[in-house]
Amino acid sequence: MISRSEIFETLEMIDQQHLDIRTITLGISLLDCADPNPETACRKIYDKITRLAANLVRTGEDIEEEFGIPIVNKRISVTPLALAAAASETEDYVPFALALDRAAAETGVNFIGGFSALVHKGFTAADRKLVKAIPRALAETERVCSSVNVASTKSGINMDAVALMGRIIKETADLTADRGSLGCAKLVAFCNAVEDNPFMAGAFHGVGEPECVINVGISGPGVVHHALLDCKGATFDVVAETVKRTAFRVTRMGQLVAREASSRLGVPFGVVDLSLAPTPAIGDSVADILEEMGLERVGTHGTTAALALLNDAVKKGGLMAASHCGGLSGAFIPVSEDAGMIASAEAGTLCLDKLEAMTCVCSVGLDMIALPGDTPAETLSAILADEAAIGMVNNKTTAARLIPAVGKTVGDRVDFGGLLGSAPVIGVHPESSAVFVARGGRIPAPLQSLRN
C-alpha cells in the first residue's frame, strides 16, 4: 500500500505547491464543416463542436472530484479556421469567430483556439481574409484565441506575413484599448507551430490529427521549486536529477488524467504536453525555480543557463512517464503570468533582450509581454522576426505574444485579470527597424548541416 508519507506528500503538492493539471484540451477537426454558404458553414461548425464537446467540462469536473486534483482549464482547439472556411463564399471571416465563441460558451470552456492561419511560405486567399479579420474577431469575442504561423525551419520566414502581423497586433490593441489591449493576449505569432498543442492562446488542431483527440497540459512549477529547496548548495548534477524526478511524478499524474479523460469521452488520447506553466499565484512561478538555483533575480547573468537546465530536465523526467509526449513541452516564461518574472521586470532586471535570449533555450518564446502603446508596428514585426529566426535556426517552436498596451508607457502596469495576470510595460529599442521590415519577401530556410 501507499505509505502515509507518500499520501501526505501528494496532498501537500496539491494544497500548498499548486500542483494541478493545467488543461484538458479537446481537439476537433472542422474540415468537414466547409460549405460554400458561410452561414451554413458556421452552423456546421457550431453543431459539431457542441456535439463533440458536450461532456468535456462535466467529465473534467468528475475527474477532478475523483482524483482530488484540480484541472484548471477545459478547452477546445479546432482546425485552423482559414482551412475550414476557405470554401465559403465570403470576404468576412468574423462570423466564423462568433460561431466559435458561441460554441465555447455553450460547452462551458474558457478558451477555444484555432482562429488560425499557416502562412510560413505564403498566403492563400483564405489566409489573407482570416488574418484581416483577427482584430475584429478578438475584439468581438470573449473566448476565441488566434494564431498565425509565419515561419518554419523548412520554409524560412515569410517576412510579408511578419510585416502584416505587426500591423494586425497594433490594430488588435487599438480595438481592445478599453480592456488593456486584451485582444493581443489571445493572439500568437509562431515559428514551427505544433499541431497538438493543448495550451492557449496558440492551440489549434492540426491537419495531421485525427477527427477528435484529447491532449493534456501539465504544470507544477511550485512542486519543482519546493523539491529544489532541499538541494541548497548541491551541484547542478543533483539539481538536474531532482527536477527530472519531480517532472516524472507530475507527468505520471498527467498521463493518468489523460487516459481517464480519453476513455470517458470515448476520444483517442493524443499527447501529454510536458510543460511547466506558471500562474500569477505566489509559489507557482518558473522564475522562483531559476532563483532557487542561485540567481539573485531572474534576468541576471546565468539565467539562460539555469533555464536551459530546467527545460531539458523537465523533458527528460517527463518523457518516461507519458506514453506520448508532444505539444510545446518545456518551461514557459510568460511575463504577466509569473509573479517572479513580473517582479524582475518591474525592478528593471528582466529586459526584452534577455527574454529573447531565454527563449533560445526554453519552450515557446516572448510570451505575454506588455510593450509601450506607441511602439511602431514595424518594431513589433522586427521583434517577431527575431523570435522566428531563433525558432527557425534552432529547429524549435518559438512564438511571440506581444501586447502594445494603448496609452501605457514603460513603468505602467497592464492588468488582464485571471490566469492572464498583469504585466509591467517594458521598453523596446527606440531605433527604427522600418526599412528592414519594409523589404518583404522571404528569409530563406537555414542550412541543416555545418551547424555551429
Binding site: M1, R4, E6, E9, E65, E66, I69, R249
Partner: protein, 89 residues
C-alpha cells in the same frame, strides 16, 4: 474501485467511529487504516474498497466532506490510482 481517505483535524473522541459508521452504512469496505496524533493534531489515512457501495463516488465524497464539516475535520477521498501514479513505477 479503491480510494484513499484522509482525515485531518483536531483530535477528539469518536473520530474513527464517526467516519467508519458511515462506511458501514454505505457498504464501503475498509482495507487498511492508520492513524496518529501529533501535537494534538489527528491524522488518519484509510484504504477503502467501493466495489459494493451503491452510492456514486461523488455522493460518498460529498457526504464525507459534510460529515467532516460537522466534526470540524478535513475529510477527503481520492482514487488510489493518483497516488500509485505518483509514487510507483
Amino acid at each position: 474501485m479503491r480510494a484513499i481517505v484522509t482525515v485531518i483535524g483536531k483530535d477528539r473522541v469518536g473520530i474513527i467511529a464517526g467516519v467508519c459508521t458511515r462506511f458501514a452504512e454505505w457498504q464501503v469496505n475498509i482495507l487498511d487504516i492508520s492513524q496518529t496524533v501529533m501535537q494534538g493534531n489527528f491524522t488518519m489515512t484509510m484504504l477503502v474498497d467501493l466495489e459494493k457501495c451503491e452510492l456514486p463516488f461523488q455522493e460518498v465524497s460529498e457526504q464525507l466532506r459534510l460529515r467532516g464539516e460537522e466534526m470540524q475535520l478535513s475529510i477527503r477521498m481520492q482514487r488510489e490510482d493518483i497516488f500509485e501514479a505518483m509514487h510507483r513505477v
